[in-house]
């Protein structure tokens, strides 16, 4: 489609509204590389999904309505949900939502801050206020109490058609909910709210959500205790295997306590770590044991997986999971909960669930990063920074940093243990999202990964390349991106694969504890696999 796409064009009858054929160039050495091909839409997908936004599919459960009646019912259901956003069904968000809904000055300061908008080459539908403006117009057309005059004054000329609403649903999954735009807004408004609220209408009212988040995510977790599908017995097996494997790897036996009664700390991991990056929970075990902490893992349902996918798309699911987790933890007899390297789990356990339940009814929860920093700053463990001579940079997970203010502990660690540590630009609370935030990291099929790897993850990849400008082409030198978050690691893994960054340039990624263990003076062998 040519010309600037305005909010009213969202319903335009065209096969595809956005093309990604002129993405901004990446820094060297990728300025010399052809851009990997975007996954193409298969013809049959048009019958099964809404492909007409940008050719990518996030809501794989949204079938295009077959008849006019179905289209009408689809739109009505959406509008019904839209009305509920401003009702007591949505009390937990109403004040921020109404502020953001009412006061936007359309100054577009937020657009400069948005990595998706910038990385898409400034495609209008990715502008943070685009979704908000569509929602405003739809709301004013259908719910405004002041009738025709108000409609005329607010130019509510958007038709609520299947095309508009279907694309709006998809568009809600082109925002990482990273809230960098909110940080930049002079009026303190938050456009990520609109993406999240649209997702909520789709899920909570229309029953439509991406399968990895809902059916294979929060529903599975509520059923078996973990979105990985791992049950208690399998979890115990994995821990046992981890003890053996890690013992071999570091040349000394290691004990991972599970279900230890009366322990001070429950260490709360994203269970995906045990499957994808077992060296991370193993490194935690090494450090916690060495620092003499009284800790345990738990094999009880809802206490060995800290994830809560609900916080990305559905408040009801988020709340159900959070409350079940809290209840289950209380039964363990531990004193406090310490969250491992997972950004969204941090936010779910410390921030989102904070006001869901009476203060008396919950256990204290904290991040593991301050504890880890103490191991270094208080010299609880002996480290040798010379073991980490290679260049290291740090990715700041949005949930942990911008949305929780846990900024310094990880820097204290890396500055002390990595002589070649350097920051990305920008960093800390001003960081860019990895591109996998809000569920994108686990959404792959049918072709959503193309959007994540090449658009939403683009800014982060560019930042990483810029952090290693001088060393990038030296294949013999590993370059380590420390990402203390499961979802961010998953995203980096995919980006590095698509751009062959590890293969060609020895670009590595991993967590914080792994690089700490690698620097432990007493270990004879390197802990990081790429050094072995």
């Amino acid at each position: 489609m040519s010309g600037i796409i305005a909010p009213k064009d969202l319903g335009r009858r065209t096969e595809r509204l956005i093309n990604y054929d002129s993405l901004p160039p990446l820094p060297a050495p990728y300025d010399q590389w052809p851009e990997p091909k975007f996954a193409e839409i298969k013809p049959e997908w048009r019958e099964k999904y809404c492909t007409s936004l940008d050719g990518c599919v996030a809501i794989d459960t949204m079938r295009p309505p077959a008849s006019d009646e179905e289209k009408k019912a689809f739109v009505e259901k959406f509008l019904q949900g839209l009305g509920k956003l401003f009702s007591d069904a949505n009390n937990g968000v109403r004040q921020p939502l109404e502020l953001s809904f009412e006061y936007c000055a359309k100054c577009n300061t937020c657009s400069e801050a948005c990595h998706v908008f910038q990385a898409s080459g400034g495609q209008e539908p990715h502008r943070p206020i685009f979704r908000a403006e569509v929602l405003r117009k739809l709301y004013r057309s259908h719910f405004s109490g002041m009738g025709a005059l108000r409609r005329a004054l607010s130019a509510s000329e958007i038709d609520a058609t299947w095309e508009t609403i279907g694309r709006l649903g998809e568009l809600a999954y082109r925002c990482n909910l990273c809230r960098r735009c909110a940080q930049a807004c002079p009026l303190g408004l938050d456009n990520s709210l609109f993406a999240k609220e649209i997702r909520k209408i789709f899920s909570q009212e229309m029953g439509l959500a991406p399968t990895p988040l809902h059916d294979k995510g929060s529903m599975l977790q509520l059923k078996v205790g973990s979105s990985t599908g791992i049950g208690k017995a399998a979890f115990l097996d994995m821990v046992e295997f981890l003890e053996d494997d890690t013992g071999e790897r570091i040349g000394q036996s290691i004990k991972i306590p599970v279900d230890k009664k009366g322990a001070d700390i429950l260490l709360y991991h994203n269970a995906g770590e045990f499957v994808a990056w077992p060296e991370n929970p193993a490194a935690y075990a090494i450090l916690f044991n060495k620092a003499g902490l009284d800790w345990t893992l738990s094999s009880e349902v809802m206490t060995y997986d800290s994830v809560n996918y609900g916080i990305w798309y559905d408040d009801i699911q988020a709340k159900k999971i959070a409350l079940k987790q809290i209840e289950a933890m209380k039964a363990l007899g531990i004193r406090r909960v310490v969250v491992g390297e997972c950004g969204h789990a941090h936010k779910a356990a410390l921030i989102v669930s904070d006001r869901l339940i009476r203060a008396e009814e919950r256990l204290p929860v904290e991040s593991s990063l301050p504890l880890l920093a103490e191991m270094v700053t208080k010299k609880q463990i002996r480290f040798d920074p010379a073991k980490n001579p290679f260049p290291v940079t740090l990715h700041d997970p949005c949930n942990l940093v911008r949305q929780m203010g846990v900024v310094k502990p990880q820097r204290d660690i890396l500055q002390a243990l990595c002589p070649a540590f350097r920051e990305m630009t920008p960093h800390g609370v001003d960081n860019y999202c990895c591109g996998g935030g809000s569920g994108f990291a686990i959404m792959n099929s049918p072709n959503f990964s193309s959007f994540r790897n090449q658009v939403s993850g683009r800014m982060k990849f560019a930042q990483i390349l810029n952090a290693f400008t001088l060393e990038m082409t030296d294949q013999s030198l590993p370059k380590y991106v420390c990402a203390p978050c499961s979802n961010c690691k998953g995203t980096l893994r995919e980006i590095f694969e698509v751009y062959k960054a590890t293969e060609q340039y020895n670009l590595q990624y991993g967590g914080l504890v792994e690089i700490m263990v690698n620097a432990m003076a007493e270990l004879k062998q390197p802990y990081l696999e790429f050094l072995q």
């Binding site: 400069e112 009212e205 911008r402 846990v406 900024v407 800390g428």
Partner: protein
């Protein structure tokens, strides 16, 4: 006399409607935590950190700097800091416009003061009044005109701008323009404005011509219109920062927040969501479902 009464009514409505808006926003239910960093009240954490950087944070006293928060808010109000850093070209129009408004606010107060006390002859006050008036009308007028022109000229801004937003800028510009023509026709010193103010306050003002009548009607109309529309962001901005982005109060036993949470949990929502998984669970409000 009518114009005198009109001034009191318009000013009264401005205050009452602004207060009503604040009251309404304040009454909205307690929301979940959604803070964003940097939060300036976090003492000693200029890097953007929070109390969550402390091990066992709930056992340690909160270090809060209200001064830092006030300074941040002040910078935002007077200088529009975020716009300056994030969108310089917009700031070049928006800041003069807002600063012009502030100048006119001070100008009005000075006019009232000097009209009531007869201090209009005190040279320093006279010069200060002149300066505020001159800067106010100049910056406000120029700012609103540039904002309007920008919206019309920039296609990407135009597609988001509603007729109401154009109307707002046109009304404001018209008020600045008519004001500048009216009060500075006899020089920069606001003497005619002071005299008019005295007559308005004592309900004895009759506009000397159409220009004065139009200007005052515009000003009175704006005073009533501003608090009912989105130009009332002077109220919204307070809530957006203090009750939303910087609200990181934890729900700890015996804290003020715990009391608020307890109250909120008692409110059972009447409206429910329709998706199958949403039922029979209660809607995502504040009540605590125990499953």
């Amino acid at each position: 006399m009518l114009f005198g009464i009109g001034a009191y009514v318009a000013a009264g409505l401005f205050l009452a409607l602004s207060a009503l808006r604040a009251y309404r926003l304040n009454r909205l239910p307690l929301h979940g935590r959604m803070e964003l960093y940097p939060a300036p009240a976090e003492k000693g954490r200029k890097h953007g950190g929070s109390y969550l950087e402390e091990p066992e944070w709930w056992t340690k006293p909160r270090q809060v700097s209200h001064m830092a928060e006030l300074a941040e808010m002040g910078g935002e109000i007077v200088f529009i800091k975020r716009l300056f850093h994030g969108s310089r070209s917009f700031w070049l129009a928006s800041w003069p416009f807002h600063f012009g408004m502030y100048c006119l606010f001070v100008w009005t107060l000075l006019l009232i003061l000097t009209a009531l006390t007869g201090a209009g002859n005190v040279e320093a006050l006279r010069v200060l009044t002149a300066l505020c008036g001159f800067l106010g009308f100049l910056l406000g007028g120029a700012g609103s005109l540039i904002l309007l022109a920008r919206r019309l000229a920039d296609k990407r801004l135009r597609i988001y701008t509603t007729p109401q937003e154009y109307l707002n800028l046109i009304l404001l510009f018209a008020a600045f323009l008519t004001g500048a023509c009216l009060w500075f026709g006899d020089g920069l010193f606001s003497d005619s404005a002071r005299l008019a103010m005295r007559n308005i306050l004592t309900l004895s003002y009759t506009p000397p011509g159409v220009l004065a009548a139009v200007h005052l009607l515009l000003v009175y109309g704006l005073l009533i219109y501003i608090p009912i529309g989105k130009m009332s962001h002077y109220v919204g901005k307070f809530f957006a920062y203090h009750r939303f982005l910087w609200d990181n109060a934890a729900n700890l036993k015996n804290s003020g927040m715990a009391a608020q949470v307890d109250r909120a949990l008692k409110n059972k929502p009447q409206t429910v969501w329709s998706a199958p998984h949403a039922n029979p669970a209660p809607a995502a409000g504040q009540e605590g479902e125990k499953t």
